[in-house]
């Protein structure tokens, strides 16, 4: 529960209720970043992926039929987080809201500098290791099938695994080498933050999508800190239990997809 966490105190409010994640049932997708944060934070939450009528509930949010509309603005697309009467959209935004409440950013002494440094890492991971992979199978149009943009997907994937992926791996390796990352395997200030969870989840998805490329980069040794972080996240007791549970959904036709013809060796 969030309220067990000492760093959540400054945010204590009337919202001492479980979180609700509203996201497409059937794929990990963007919702997975939020699930990992909630799981690692030991939060009580419900999830439209695992309730009766979950899909209807997602659709009601998309159509703007949700309650609390008087104070909340409509969101463009899932995921949404509902917490008490607050309803917010956008993955990095939801994570930034959850971070301090779940003890997944360092507690602030003066100012709130930590959250902005962590948020920058999250936005960069999502840009390069979630949005760009998604665009690999949808380079021309999100509204078209992959089958309608196959040659372009091949070209984009080729560029991605050869140029973009190592660039982002190299960036996070550099972050892990920086003094600001502190001791231990984590990205920031020597302690686990939700940015580590996001980087883990992104890399897990990219590995599913481009296994040959990730295997080669792992073997190269050039990104050893990144892969150590990956293992360290996977070994966190709550994350491990979650990944082994049936709450963890399989990749299918979401952001990370496996197409043999796109599994290019760099």
């Amino acid at each position: 529960m969030a309220s067990d966490n000492p760093s959540a105190k400054r945010h204590k409010s009337s919202k001492d209720v479980p979180y609700e994640l509203i996201y497409w049932p059937g794929i990990p997708g963007r919702g997975e970043h939020i699930r990992l944060a909630l799981e690692e934070g030991g939060a009580e939450y419900t999830d439209t992926a695992h309730i009766d009528g979950g899909m209807d509930r997602v659709m009601s949010y998309i159509k703007g039929e949700k309650p609390d509309d008087d104070i909340n603005t409509p969101g463009f697309a899932p995921p949404w987080l509902k917490h008490g009467d607050l309803v917010i959209s956008q993955t990095p935004n939801i994570l930034m809201y959850l971070g301090p409440r779940l003890g997944l950013v360092p507690a602030n002494d003066a100012g709130d500098d930590h959250v902005y440094r962590v948020n920058a890492l999250v936005l960069t991971a999502l840009d390069g290791l979630s949005n760009e992979p998604h665009d690999c199978h949808h380079p021309i149009a999100t509204g078209l099938y992959y089958e309608d943009q196959k040659p372009e997907s091949k070209r984009k994937s080729d560029d991605y695994v050869k140029n973009r992926l190592p660039k982002f791996l190299g960036y996070f390796e550099r972050v892990l080498q920086s003094k600001a990352s502190g001791d231990g395997p984590w990205l920031y200030a020597g302690q686990l933050t939700y940015a580590d969870l996001v980087l883990y989840q992104c890399l897990n998805g990219v590995r599913f999508m481009f296994p040959k490329a990730v295997a080669k980069y792992e073997k190269s040794g050039n990104y050893s800190r990144v892969f150590k972080l990956y293992e360290a996240v996977e070994q966190r007791p709550k994350i491990k239990a979650y990944l082994e549970s049936d709450r963890r959904q399989k990749y299918s036709m979401g952001i990370y997809r496996y197409y043999e013809e796109l599994d290019i060796e760099p």
Copy 2:
């Protein structure tokens, strides 16, 4: 100056110094969102676009040769904001930092719900009206020239002006119709926030890139609230003065580009 602003008080810290924007000289680009916030907020700031050696300074940040590296993590790409000893990257992150300090989000009574609602709007505007337009001339690879991906750019632009652009315009029209937007032309709570500035700047860029499409959608009357907001931002005295000054750079080879063959009528 930020310190003139009453809502900046809760954030008062040792950082009572001018802001510094570190961004590519010569293009408005992503830095422009930050400039508009600083200008509307009446903040003191310096800008690498207008100082001697600005480009060298941007490069030193890209290479990670900047000071304050012990406490700040490296950033992947410009823009950066330096404020005292804090150095952060990522446009929406920088805006979220500046918003409360410049009085560009409603003051919080309890909790900080306002900033998360405003941040969601900003992330959605940047996704659909900045990142997607950028990808229109770089659908296959950011590292290739537009000239190397012209047929794909045409297809993507065609989808963008016919499907994506009206979808995002319609979304923001819906936000402006919602009760949460309050009275007046603004997106949230009846007052100007930095989300309005972002939507203005995005639409200004999209209009430069796809003038035929924007003219047609404006004329349709289906997005009248969006275009009213656009005009209302443009008429803000500080914004107006800024846009007429030589601090406002012209669009060229940045995110928003004009290619006649991509100026498609929807």
